[in-house]
């Protein structure tokens, strides 16, 4: 039972990070109907930028909270700029093109980001300098560090803030209008171009924070880390119902828990035949199952293709 509680806690913490990345996928998909393949790699850039800032400032001997705040803001600024320019250069000209075209540029951008990162930071794993000594405490029989708790709480705060923003603010209303029908939204005086650009900026900024969290959680960064993270976050978005912001949150948390339970128990269940090296497969199995059984996801609405 203690193992069970432990896996649930681990899963929720990891899942809250997935959920943050999934938000970026789902918002862009909701508005443009485009899978932004590069989003996982934007998160990777956020992670590596914040790692670089932490390394720099840790050497200068600043206190940990200041370092983390600066690292987070640095990553947010870099990623938001990146998201904005990618949308402007690679996606906007193709908005009326056949579906395959923006998908292929998205893959191109993703490769560009990965290998630019490899060029800047090298291909080896970069480890996080020890700047914080997280306190350990026990909750429901599960071990939890203060760092994990902080990650989870911050993620929840961001998600709640985003939901509130989309529901109540003027920009949020414009985003919802554009999502429903960009042409009509345009006629109603919504500047759809700036709404779409804003969506990319927002998604990338949240991705940057998620990147910092991944670095703190695993203590490592790598130029290819965005790939698996992106695949899982996308799965989370599909699980919750792609295009649905609340769904991304639910899907992320669920996926984290499923993955962590599966990885924790697969060894016992199969008598040691399959080990946790199959961990990364679960996300994919979930994805296929959801797509087969309920393609609209848990919270998505079922709708036919528009002619």
């Amino acid at each position: 039972m203690e193992i069970f509680a432990q896996q649930i806690v681990n899963g929720l913490v990891l899942g809250s990070i997935y959920a943050l990345v999934a938000l970026g996928y789902t918002m862009v998909y909701g508005i443009l109907g485009l899978i932004n393949f590069a989003h996982g790699d934007i998160t990777m850039i956020g992670a590596l930028v914040s790692l670089a800032i932490i390394q720099l400032l840790a050497a200068a001997g600043l206190p940990a909270p200041v370092i983390l705040l600066l690292a987070g803001s640095g990553a947010v600024v870099v990623c938001a700029t990146l998201g904005l320019s990618i949308e402007r250069v690679a996606y906007r000209p193709l908005r009326r093109a056949p579906r395959l075209a923006p998908l292929i540029t998205a893959i191109g951008v993703s490769i560009l980001l990965q290998y630019s990162a490899a060029l800047v930071w090298g291909k080896q794993y970069i480890s996080l300098p020890q700047i914080i000594e997280p306190a350990q405490f026990t909750i429901f029989g599960a071990q939890l560090t203060s760092l994990q708790a902080a990650i989870f709480l911050l993620a929840c705060l961001i998600m709640a803030g985003l939901l509130w923003f989309i529901k109540t603010s003027r920009m949020g209303r414009a985003m919802r209008a554009t999502e429903q029908n960009p042409d009509v939204a345009g006629l109603m005086g919504v500047n759809t171009n700036s709404v779409i650009a804003f969506t990319f900026v927002l998604g990338s900024a949240i991705g940057a924070v998620a990147g910092l969290m991944v670095v703190l959680y695993y203590g490592l960064g790598h130029y290819f880390m965005g790939f698996m993270l992106g695949l899982k976050a996308f799965t989370a978005a599909v699980l919750g119902g792609i295009g649905n912001v609340g769904g991304a949150v639910l899907g992320g948390l669920l996926l984290g828990v499923i993955e962590s339970l599966a990885a924790g128990y697969i060894g016992d269940l199969t008598g040691g035949v399959l080990g946790s090296n199959y961990r990364d497969i679960f996300a994919f199995l979930v994805l296929v199952l959801v797509l087969v059984l309920r393609p609209s996801g848990l919270l998505g609405h079922r709708g036919g293709d528009r002619v």
Binding site: G33, L34, I35, V89, A90, P93, L94, A97, P98, R99, L100, A101, P102, L103, I104, T105, I107, G108, V109, S110, I111, L112, Q114, Y115, S116, A118, L119, F227, L231, F234, V238, V273, G275, N277, Y278, D280, I281, A283, F284, L287, V288, L291, V292, P295, D305, V307
Partner: protein
């Protein structure tokens, strides 16, 4: 047309003769390494043509195509190497590999083809990764794939008593293993081109184009879209499976590392850059993207000589250029270097 017919015939004869003489000419002009590169280029032509059926004809974006190549390669390697102690003949294994790959194609396609195109891209991406993870981990508890070490000592191709790995002399020419494989690969590549061309103009090919352009309209016209899409997947997978078997016998060694996501992307680049849906364009793309990265290898030593150190690893530079090429092609020339006639017509139509 009739006046130019004799010239066309002469041109074809010249091309055929050049292709037959190519390995010897290339060996004299550029050295043995480039004969090997030519062999690999022929394999990639087969792969790219297979992916072209899926992406170019039917418009289904497959990002895990290399998995079928891997399935074909492992199918051959397992049944013709000391790994499982089996040494089946090549003429049995080639169709078997093709069939197994086709079955995998259908297995992947069946649950996902009902979905929108972009979901398919992600699922195929995951499928490619899963195949690699399985190949890496199926060495426990029973050792099937030998894990990350890969399979060695794979039997070379042998047709009757004629082994392609040995050097043969014929009509005053020496045929080394590289030459022998060249001719087998050439035959397979030419066959793939013919099949692709015939498919393109067939009832099936036109059904694929209809699905690509508008699935709903195609279905209303009585095309069984699900079966047609499955057929495209199975056909594409078959090409990959055959190429995989040939690759395994040619290399004599395979490991999961040869079947990375990056390789899927590379084959996709060949199709996209060459010209989605146009057989000649795809062949051109495959040749260009096999030869250019090889040429990029010289950049490493050049950097060393000019700057005293290597700034950009040639393989990283290759990936950067691939990424850039994908973006730029989609922005400025979406139908490829050598576009399909139909696509070009559509583009002009859309512009006017």
């Amino acid at each position: 047309m009739s006046a130019s017919a004799p010239w066309r015939r002469v041109a074809w004869v010249v091309i055929a003769l050049l292709l037959l003489a190519a390995p010897f000419l290339i060996e004299i002009l550029f050295g043995r390494t480039w004969v090997r590169i030519t062999d690999v280029a022929l394999l990639f032509i087969m792969l790219a043509l297979g992916l072209n059926i899926v992406v170019g004809f039917a418009g289904l974006l497959d990002l895990g195509y290399i998995a079928f190549f891997a399935v074909g390669a492992y199918c051959y390697a397992l049944l013709a190497s000391p790994q499982l102690g089996m040494h089946w003949p090549f003429l049995v294994l080639l169709p078997l590999g093709a069939m197994v790959a086709a079955v995998f194609g259908i297995l992947l396609g069946a649950p996902t083809l009902r979905l929108r195109g972009d979901y398919l891209a992600i699922v195929t991406l995951g499928f490619g990764e899963i195949i690699r993870v399985l190949l890496n981990n199926l060495n426990r508890p029973v050792n099937i794939t030998n894990g990350p070490q890969g399979i060695t000592l794979i039997d070379p191709l042998q047709i009757g008593g004629f082994s392609l790995a040995q050097t043969h002399s014929f009509a005053g020419l020496t045929f080394t293993a590289l030459h022998n494989y060249y001719f087998v690969f050439l035959a397979c590549a030419v066959l793939s081109i013919i099949i692709s061309r015939r498919l393109e103009d067939s009832r099936i090919g036109r059904a694929w184009v209809a699905i690509r352009e508008d699935e709903l309209a195609a279905a209303s016209m009585g095309i069984n879209t699900r079966n047609m899409k499955l057929l495209a997947f199975a056909m594409g997978a078959t090409f990959g499976g055959v190429a995989g078997g040939l690759f395994a016998s040619f290399q004599g060694f395979i490991s999961p590392e040869s079947f990375h996501l990056i390789d899927s992307i590379m084959v996709l680049c060949m199709v996209v850059l060459g010209g989605m849906g146009n057989v000649a364009g795809v062949v051109l793309g495959a040749v260009l993207l096999t030869v250019l990265p090889e040429a990029l290898r010289y950049i490493g030593p050049l950097q060393q000589r000019w700057f005293g150190e290597v700034f950009i690893d040639p393989s990283d530079l290759r990936m950067l250029l691939f990424g850039l090429a994908l973006v730029l092609m989609m922005l400025f020339r979406p139908s490829g270097i050598w576009p399909a006639r139909r696509r070009k017509a559509e583009e002009n139509h859309a512009a006017g």
